[in-house]
Symmetry: D2
Subunit: 402 residues, 4 copies
Amino acid sequence: MDTDSLVDAVENDELRLHELEQHADADVAAKARRQLLAGDTDTDFETIGEYGFEAAVAEPNIENMLGAAQVPMGVVGPVTVDGGAAGGPTYLPLATTEGALVASVNRGCAAIRAAEGATARVLKNAMTRAPVFRVEDVAAASETAAWVRDNVDRLAEAAEATTNHGELREVTPYVVGDNVFLRFGYDTKDAMGMNMATIATEAACEIVESETPAELVALSGNLCSDKKPAAINSIEGRGRTVAADVQISRDLVETYFKTTPEAIAEANTRKNLVGSAKAGSLGFNAHVANTVAAAFLATGQDIAQVVDGANAITTADVRDGDLYASLTISSLEVGTVGGGTKLPTQSEALDLIGVRGGGDPPGSNADELGEIITTAALAGELSLLGALASNHLASAHEELGR
Amino acid sequence: MDTDSLVDAVENDELRLHELEQHADADVAAKARRQLLAGDTDTDFETIGEYGFEAAVAEPNIENMLGAAQVPMGVVGPVTVDGGAAGGPTYLPLATTEGALVASVNRGCAAIRAAEGATARVLKNAMTRAPVFRVEDVAAASETAAWVRDNVDRLAEAAEATTNHGELREVTPYVVGDNVFLRFGYDTKDAMGMNMATIATEAACEIVESETPAELVALSGNLCSDKKPAAINSIEGRGRTVAADVQISRDLVETYFKTTPEAIAEANTRKNLVGSAKAGSLGFNAHVANTVAAAFLATGQDIAQVVDGANAITTADVRDGDLYASLTISSLEVGTVGGGTKLPTQSEALDLIGVRGGGDPPGSNADELGEIITTAALAGELSLLGALASNHLASAHEELGR
Amino acid sequence: MDTDSLVDAVENDELRLHELEQHADADVAAKARRQLLAGDTDTDFETIGEYGFEAAVAEPNIENMLGAAQVPMGVVGPVTVDGGAAGGPTYLPLATTEGALVASVNRGCAAIRAAEGATARVLKNAMTRAPVFRVEDVAAASETAAWVRDNVDRLAEAAEATTNHGELREVTPYVVGDNVFLRFGYDTKDAMGMNMATIATEAACEIVESETPAELVALSGNLCSDKKPAAINSIEGRGRTVAADVQISRDLVETYFKTTPEAIAEANTRKNLVGSAKAGSLGFNAHVANTVAAAFLATGQDIAQVVDGANAITTADVRDGDLYASLTISSLEVGTVGGGTKLPTQSEALDLIGVRGGGDPPGSNADELGEIITTAALAGELSLLGALASNHLASAHEELGR
Amino acid sequence: MDTDSLVDAVENDELRLHELEQHADADVAAKARRQLLAGDTDTDFETIGEYGFEAAVAEPNIENMLGAAQVPMGVVGPVTVDGGAAGGPTYLPLATTEGALVASVNRGCAAIRAAEGATARVLKNAMTRAPVFRVEDVAAASETAAWVRDNVDRLAEAAEATTNHGELREVTPYVVGDNVFLRFGYDTKDAMGMNMATIATEAACEIVESETPAELVALSGNLCSDKKPAAINSIEGRGRTVAADVQISRDLVETYFKTTPEAIAEANTRKNLVGSAKAGSLGFNAHVANTVAAAFLATGQDIAQVVDGANAITTADVRDGDLYASLTISSLEVGTVGGGTKLPTQSEALDLIGVRGGGDPPGSNADELGEIITTAALAGELSLLGALASNHLASAHEELGR
């Protein structure tokens, strides 16, 4: 069917808005959908409809497609980092609508380059899924937990049979009354891995149900914990736990940030540590989510997982007169295969970084991406802390000048 | 300068990558930048460069522009909600790369429509900014806090002089040793309002510094708390606190979700309440961040604020045999003017909803947007809970059939 | 009845164990109870039965009395503090079973004295009670919250009619779906005030129920939040929010703690700030609960409220070469009248401090007690941080000596 | 020296207040101390001085002794529980100053007995200590963490050489920038075990320092986390994680609590689950700390650890028309040897329960104590929820009667 026929069919209640792709190719369907809604709502879909790819490539990613959201993409770098996987300078694309963000992160990257680069490491790597089971009573809960601890091998066998790449690393039982939660942690290599983890866990759950008195209530019991601000992630990690740090000389701090190591350290302590403590926060940082969100959007990550990527602690101290600063993100969920990474602008962005597709060895591309994002986020922290601290110095100077 | 000249100038170190817009229009600059990085990194920027707007319109939103990220946009609805501002059915565009998300939210919207719509209310509205000050000791801290409590009028006068629309609603002092945090809360009408709040707070801080012994350390002291998972937001709110609920008959639950009110209520209690409790979470919900992120991306909101939008509690109970479900998002930061809302695809998306630009009365468009997003997120909760509960029923049925 | 008759009556099922006080005085009843249980369990109640007061005086505090627990009580001080209410040196009794605790706090007190005393202030004072109401839907929730905000005066009138001393300071509504929580905050003067707050709130709830669609479900809805580790208390306070601080010269730090201001500041940052951040904690301190618990036990406070008293942040920084340290306890629930304060050893302990009974002006005795406990807890923080830091120095020294 | 000589010596500055035990026996020293402070402060120490044991027995537990705090002790029970260690009915002594607490817990115990008893299990058992180390950078942090994971055996050998009973169960590394935290978890059998864990960890730290680049900063880095409200404890446990539950028929609910299973379940959901969620709490219960505190005080536990004992989740649901309720305390730190358990009233209290001293097998006495306290706390939850729910019913009844 062509666009007009689709429009007619919907208007005559012969088709529903989400069924158009069954009768036309994806671009035509999207066009018809825009035409239908434009009429209803007096909306001009000119730009939403002007996307630069064939709609069919997005079919695994969207339903009821209208077109595409277009978000300006800038670039920062080179990001210079000595990582476990990353090495050498790399450009990082950031998509955002927040003016000054790219410039701010870029300033931090320049300071880090001048300081001969950051160091970064992936400290842990485990994508988790935690089903919840119902049991009769706490005796059955205890029994189930004990059975699981004794049979991790059987669960791994069942789980890993569902995947080519994933490896089950750990299963931790948690009991609350007649609820048993099992937190499965997988190495999902270069995939962010949530689907892989879900499918593998479902297979393992069948074993648990057949061998213990536990009955599955929900494949996710919120101890995973996906896209929710949760201490279990900030403590135990989810996806990759990544840390980056840098030592910047006093001169470079003054050159790049117009302030002193002491002023940055003080701002960090009062704001990121004490302020966050008083706020009841899991995020002891200035604006890590900004860099994470912009990098996630550019590279096809799941942007709702920015929630987990904000579980981050920034430290800043004076060391021998210089500035030492670090950033540790506990639950950075990144991948270079699957999900949104195959989409056109997203895969081009991964190409720019040099981490498109599976790594060699497997997992190394996602490791590298994690280390680069964390280093850029550290740059963003330095830049904002520097701005806050130098404003203060500025006002102090004015005061002295009176 | 034309593209080639820009490229030459950078390669000859006469210009830096971020300076191109000073010598050419934004599209040419972005093209040169792509050409430079393509050469360095062997990247094909074909789609990133094929954005559907003039780069100049994005200048307030981006630096070092390469082009645009393009994310598939679908649509859900009509979302039927009786709100404080929203009324009548509305379509909501969602941009995402997560397959099945749009379909899932849409299924929930269909159930809500069949149930004659949801109810929604904006319960609180205050964009916050919380500077941190240094004082000599706890006596000075106490004195400063007392002065602030007694002089909110003066602070409001100074703050409101910087803005046409914003109103200072409250200033709450918090003391930790020699740190004084002042949490300013503003009604910023249809703007998300963070910049407005920051500028107004800066003006108020000058009064505080001149009248009390306190010295400003950082304009944001993390009790705001912006883009960090923080209990102060989940308790006191930030931006808009919005609740939506619906009562769905047993028949409709079975029709739309293939399960029962009891099974959905049980899954919600064990997963969203008990599971989240055990996880040390501030997010007692299934996947609210998914809907919030997709709606934020489509409508030009700040996607890093998805972090705050995940502070949400879902409840589900059986009422007289039917299902009652609610969703309360404590810190949903939305606007219909400013920021990314002016960009082309984003403003078209706001047009589709009918909330582009300032509302009448001021604030009503952002209220409406908040109520619609919350209702759609409730739809997403219902749909996922239904899927979890029915899978379980399915497996129970298979078991019985053996 | 005499002891033997009581014992016989219980053994013959004519009386139940908790009914003895109806037939004999409290000492005889307790003796009979000991005799009955001793026989059953082969327990020697020699010391439990050897309490130093008439059992009748404890009747408001205990049921099914056996005797008394006896916990060793030591003393620290003088505690030297310039407070809002406290002034001049005071001894503080501490009851504990943890060896070295009294000595450790006492060492900190000596350092504070040598540094010419601490400064302390009560920053906020509000005992809270937060009932939860059920409403039909979020529209009714919004309506109820609005009514409450508009009618605080009527609620205050009803609440204050139940008490001679209490004053209603604030009522804050919080909504989650069809739940409305109202957090009432009272100035309860020298009483810890939970009973007063509960009774007053019950009266206010009747007004709410008669004037709004809300129905009371539970007089406490856990936003109070009493005896639970809750961010609402660590952020907004409960009972008294008290801060104390001190500046100690480098020489005195070395004399009293065998370490340097830098080493103490470093230990505080790494342990109390960064460590607590990573632990997902609301307690950014070393062992404040130790001092609070021992002082609460000695002075007749409610020891289960030690939970809330652990919501505390310790800071330590180097200032001009000296050590500046502060402690802020957000929810310290203390009283000098009512509850356990009338019991014999407890009222003697309050006498020692000089704060027994109601203060002049009302509230000043409880303020003073709060300031003294917080100062002693700061002393305990200094002493433990010093010990940790000097052990480390010691081992470093040994290393150098090899 | 006799009392008068001691008094004279202090008044003449020949002795300091805390040195008296060097020159007299403990009772004489305490008497002299009372006499000195009585003179200074006009305090009558009559009851504080009338303790029922020789002061010398308390020497390991106190310094600067004045006498003893005496707190009324009641008894509840029999507590009927089918536990992993506990079995059969047991009386539990509770020391408290909160009137009605003993009666309330006792009412819950009666209901549990009528329902043929509760079930309880110790789900996990690990006393933790978590030192913090300083490293050069994140590369060294990663290296240190890896070394630790590979060398748990060596750390166990060093740690266990310091103790007769303790066993090292696990060592988990956590990294934040240049901080490495190692959380050591021990089975400390019948001891609460903090001292044992500290000493053993100190020995293990020496190995870490000699084999890795890490330098110890503090033996406790707050990831332990002792006596602070911390999510790491509510998630991973500390000391014993214990759960208890019971099913009570509708008739018994009505008989004992004057309400229905539905009303108790509703109060629990709205208050303990939703209310605690909104409060940002780690304690999803009504008043578990009350029972834990009173049992800790009676039996010689460390009362500051009531903080950790409040990390508890209560659930209540309707099952086939009856009430199912559970309580899970994640970090209940109990022992039957060491610490305050040897003191006279405390060891008599342990005798009453039948768990004084080491168990057979080792650990079983502390397990039993944990199960009994948790069951009694569950009884306290039922009783308070019942009271809240029945008040509500009462008011509903009045309303109907109008």
